[in-house]
Symmetry: C2
């Protein structure tokens, strides 16, 4: 009764998806507060009036944007979990994500979310949900890799997961630099992440 998805609903959902991708660029260029509804509608290729048929308010767009990113993130983790060597796949994914975020507007968006989360409670909640989801997924990966119970993994490595999230975010938000400087910095960051993951892996070796 509640979720009878008609073809129309699906099409509308897809449309919203597409609009979010376009709007993201406008937000990246002007910031959440700096981008006007005119800017956003123009970026989406439609009039202001029609734009309001898809989002009830400006604040709602931001929330849906974050929710969209969360869904994408969970998709990546689904891939990782189906891989035969989750920790290794995770490591590769992280390196790839950092690279991708740096060369598109994602880093910009995350900087905006980070700043906004510190002043607007609703955005803080959305960002918290995102972080909680990622760390929970990381706990799953760690548990799968080590064979240890989720409770123990959580107790010992939750902060490791938070640290990895912090590092990936910080790496994404970096201002552009000379390629060699950027690569050197990325290497250091990835080294730290590897170290964190190695500590997790070491926990499983004791069992073996």
């Amino acid at each position: 009764m509640t979720s009878v998805a008609t073809a129309q609903d699906l099409r509308a959902e897809q449309r919203t998806f597409d609009i979010l991708a376009l709007v993201r660029v406008a937000f990246a260029e002007k910031g959440f507060d700096g981008a006007s509804m005119q800017d956003l509608a123009r970026a989406a290729g439609m009039s202001v009036g029609n734009f309001y048929r898809y989002f009830p308010s400006k604040a709602a767009i931001v929330e849906q944007l974050i929710a969209h990113d969360l869904a994408e993130m969970e998709g990546h983790f689904a891939e990782i979990m189906t891989s035969p060597f989750p920790l290794l796949t995770l490591k590769q994914q992280v390196a790839l994500q950092i690279q991708l975020h740096q060369e598109c507007v994602d880093g910009q968006i995350w900087a905006e979310i980070t700043a906004a989360a510190l002043r607007k409670p609703e955005i803080a909640q959305a960002a918290d949900r995102m972080e909680a989801s990622i760390t929970a997924n990381l706990m799953q990966v760690f548990a799968r890799e080590t064979g240890l119970p989720l409770a123990e993994i959580t107790k010992r490595f939750q902060s490791h997961a938070s640290y990895i999230v912090l590092l990936v975010k910080a790496a994404s938000m970096q201002a552009p630099r000379a390629p060699e400087a950027r690569d050197a910095l990325n290497t250091l960051i990835l080294n730290t992440i590897d170290q964190m993951l190695a500590e997790v892996a070491r926990a499983s070796l004791k069992v073996k």
Copy 2:
């Protein structure tokens, strides 16, 4: 001729300093774009008209705010350089700064600067100046500690310095968490920083 500082000038400068401290809170609460001139003037305890006697525009306030932070930073480094064990003092200062930033509005302001720097070239320049100053100072500390020439230090450890800056910034910008989670995360961050500094120190041991 150019810089005959009258008592009046000094008083005005001090006033600007005080206003910046007040305005910082308003910016932290509403963001650079979100805070209106009315908000800022109210935070400074004066009328809008009078506020414009101290700053020619909203953009100018932000630039002066960053310049102010840069000056403060350089003051800290001056202290560090006069210490008998610069690297040790640096380590303590970093731990202290992270703690201080987390419990006042500084982290909020840095999140705002980070986001704004990615879209506004003037702010990007100001932020670059800040990063360049900090890394240059770190190079001085490293050179002093290891006895190696500045050129070699720069070649080998510039990225280490950038990484330390990134970590301190990221730590400051963290959303509030449960105390034990925050402490665990801070420990991991400080461990990484210690590691970077240890690598620098190791370079000097070879000489001894």
